[in-house]
């Protein structure tokens, strides 16, 4: 165990998997000579050379599709999108090729590719650079989606994704890259895809969430604890496949749930989870499952507007209070 940053954890995962398997390579804009726009691939060009760490032109559709083709014939590409915002341009290759080739070929052609990069908002990056793109990746079957919230999860999930035989989107967070945490040194440390993680236990209400929002949920839990409310925080970690067992166990215990996500609500991840909870644990619910998300507008630039549009700790606390039918602040 060492305390390292989320960025270093991703870097270690890439390095270790590249050492382990020559078929693994990293491709994307600025990943090689520049060490990555967010420095996730720092030092990898030096260690592995430009055969395996490949700077690409700004051609998201092209290089994502190239990766998909390479994956079909034996390589294990890791395709970095500088941010997932730019990957709308590549979506056809993700959904119409990567996600379908195995099925359409009746199991003949695997597509073991990883798409990774930061997702969601950072600081004042405006409408085009602040989007949470989970929905576009989870809706169609054929792709897996993971959203590590901590350095350990980042390392373990990225390693699992690279070893996985399906396309996996690893959605990181720009604001997480500098976060520190304990990470196992073991070269074979893996966080299995499809396992949620109870990041905090509690009996009164479940906040279910994923990605960067886990930390907002934990702050809300701390706040509520001071008011005597015990919050359980369930981090999905993996959105597809989905660990409903852990989600349902938590809801059956607390009887109340709030879904928190960074992105938009309409057909968001929260919509899916909330509807599944009420489908499968209807009688266990003492209150509706509420959802907290970004305001339903393109993210504005101005700092005050951006903060206002975000799903804040206060909004989460308020939602918890609502499902607990309490007024909050001890009132």
């Amino acid at each position: 165990m060492a305390e390292i940053t989320y960025r270093e954890a991703l870097n270690q995962a890439l390095r270790e998997e590249m050492v382990r398997d020559d078929a693994v390579f990293l491709m994307g804009e600025e990943v090689a000579e520049y060490d990555g726009a967010y420095k996730v691939s720092r030092g990898l060009l030096k260690e592995f050379g430009n055969r395996r760490i490949v700077d690409s032109p700004i051609s998201e559709l092209g290089f994502a599709g190239l990766g998909v083709g390479a994956a079909m014939v034996g390589l294990r590409p890791v395709i970095e999108f500088m941010t997932f915002n730019f990957s709308y341009l590549a979506l056809d290759q993700v959904i119409n090729t990567a996600a379908k080739w195995l099925y359409m070929s009746n199991g003949q052609i695997n597509v073991p590719i990883v798409f990774r990069g930061p997702n969601g908002s950072a600081l004042q990056l405006s409408a085009q650079h602040s989007q949470s793109c989970e929905t576009y990746y989870v809706h169609a079957p054929g792709v897996k989606v993971v959203t590590p919230a901590t350095p350990a999860d980042a390392k373990g999930l990225l390693k699992a994704a690279i070893r996985d035989n399906d396309p996996v989107a690893v959605m990181e967070g720009e604001l997480l890259y500098n976060m520190k945490g304990e990470v196992p040194d073991d070269d074979d440390f893996i966080v299995p895809i499809g396992k949620a993680d109870v990041k905090r236990e509690g009996e009164d209400v479940s906040i279910i969430t994923h990605g960067k929002s886990v930390h907002v949920a934990l702050q809300a839990a701390t706040k509520l604890e001071k008011e005597g409310v015990q919050v359980e925080v369930v981090d999905l970690r993996s959105i597809r496949p989905l660990d409903m067992q852990t989600v349902l166990a938590s809801v059956r215990k607390t009887n109340r749930a709030v879904y928190l996500e960074e992105g938009w609500a309409f057909a968001g991840v929260g919509a899916q989870i909330a509807s599944m909870i009420q489908e499968e644990a209807f009688d266990d619910l003492d209150a509706p499952v509420l959802r907290i998300s970004q305001a339903d507008v393109p993210m504005p630039y101005a700092k005050n507007l951006e903060n206002f549009a975000r799903p804040t700790v206060d909004r989460v606390v308020k939602a918890c209070n609502r499902v607990l039918y309490r007024n909050g602040n001890g009132r």
Partner: protein, 368 residues
């Protein structure tokens, strides 16, 4: 045969080497193989047309009749471990790469013995073991994929070639542009063969491009070629050289393969009427039938006579009939396997499928 009636017409077949050899130096057995392949392709497509008419085949179905020489003359020079990927008009290309008529016909029929298990249909034929990597129904979608095969070949220091078919209309897609640039920058062993039949559905190429197909390859730093795709000897000779060039490290190539579609775009599109006249089609069918053109060469070279051709044709017809019988006898896919192959393993930690159906595979952990 349909082309018998034009047996006396002289086609525009080329004699490159001036030797007077009607086969232009191509070995007689090779020429005969090309003939057999093209006949097989033609009869197969006719059978597919029949199958569609009687409702055995559904969905979209695009025939390659008229364009057989392109598949025979290009894929015919490849090794088994070379890769081919195409769009949706790919029956004959799949045959050329070695998938059996049975497996393809069964696929068109939507049966379990189809080369895609009945899941793909006409537009999505696969046999990875033979290097046939699919039909992509999204115009231009296969171009980055083919580029990826070439990237992998170079990465693994192999000497295979990736052959990508695309239609003339596909070159207006961004995927074309991005791929050609990537291939040029990294000098990848890929051939972009544009089957230039002059139309994308009902749209003549000249209506949607200010320059010709060959010229549209300018700008990337990739050699641009043009070949008469109706003449299988020319096509074969050309691709023989080109594939060797690429295998030897010559980098990406772009080819304007001139050809013509004798049938409608798909089964619902009439052969002529709206966007091309009956006269145009008739003239091209008469002048540019690849089978007739090769037949003339073979007859002239004395390698084959009418009798031998008819015997070959009968053989091929029998093979195609057998394929249809095989397809018809093949069972429909088992719905119990509906979820299989949506992912490599359908029984994972966590639920992969959330449609709430009882038959959907559950998560590994939930079962225990």
């Amino acid at each position: 045969m349909a082309e018998t009636k034009t047996a006396t017409k002289k086609g525009p077949a080329t004699r490159d080497d001036m030797s007077g050899d009607p086969l232009n130096g191509v070995a007689p057995e090779t020429a005969l193989r090309l003939m057999r392949n093209m006949l097989l392709f033609r009869r197969f497509e006719e059978k597919a047309e029949e199958g569609y008419a009687i409702g055995k085949i559904g969905g979209f179905c695009h025939l390659h009749i008229g364009q057989e020489a392109v598949a025979a003359g290009s894929i015919g020079v490849l090794r088994a471990d070379d890769y081919v990927i195409s769009a949706y008009r790919e029956h004959t290309q799949a045959l050329a790469k070695g998938i059996s008529p049975k497996a393809i016909m069964a696929e068109l029929y939507g049966r379990a013995d189809g080369c895609s298990g009945g899941r793909g249909g006409s537009m999505h034929l696969f046999d990875a073991s033979k290097g046939f990597m699919g039909g992509n129904g999204i115009v231009g979608g296969q171009i980055p994929t083919a580029t990826g095969f070439a990237f992998a070949i170079k990465y693994k220091k192999g000497d295979q070639v990736s052959l990508c078919f695309l239609g003339d209309a596909a070159i207006n897609q961004g995927a074309f542009h991005e791929s050609l640039n990537l291939a040029a920058v990294w000098k990848l062993p890929v051939i972009y063969a544009v089957e230039n039949n002059g139309y994308g559905m009902g749209t003549a190429f000249r209506r949607v491009s200010a320059r010709e197909v060959k010229d549209r390859g300018d700008g990337y730093g990739i050699p641009c070629h043009r070949v008469n795709g109706q003449d299988v000897i020319e096509t074969y000779t050309f691709f023989s050289k080109l594939v060797e060039t690429v295998r030897a490290g010559g980098g990406p190539q772009y080819v304007d393969v001139r050809t013509y579609r004798f049938k409608g775009h798909s089964m619902s599109d009439p052969v002529s009427g709206t966007y091309r006249s009956k006269e145009e089609v008739d003239k091209r069918v008469e002048q540019d039938d690849p089978i007739r053109m090769l037949r003339e060469r073979l007859f002239e070279a004395g390698v084959m006579d009418q009798e031998a051709l008819e015997a070959m044709d009968n053989e091929v017809r029998a093979e195609v009939n057998e394929a249809a019988e095989f397809a018809d006898a093949s069972p429909v896919p088992d719905p119990a396997n509906l979820y299989q192959h949506a992912y490599a393993t359908i029984n994972e930690h966590g639920r992969l499928f959330v449609d709430g159906r009882e038959d959907a595979p559950r998560a590994r952990d939930e079962e225990s």
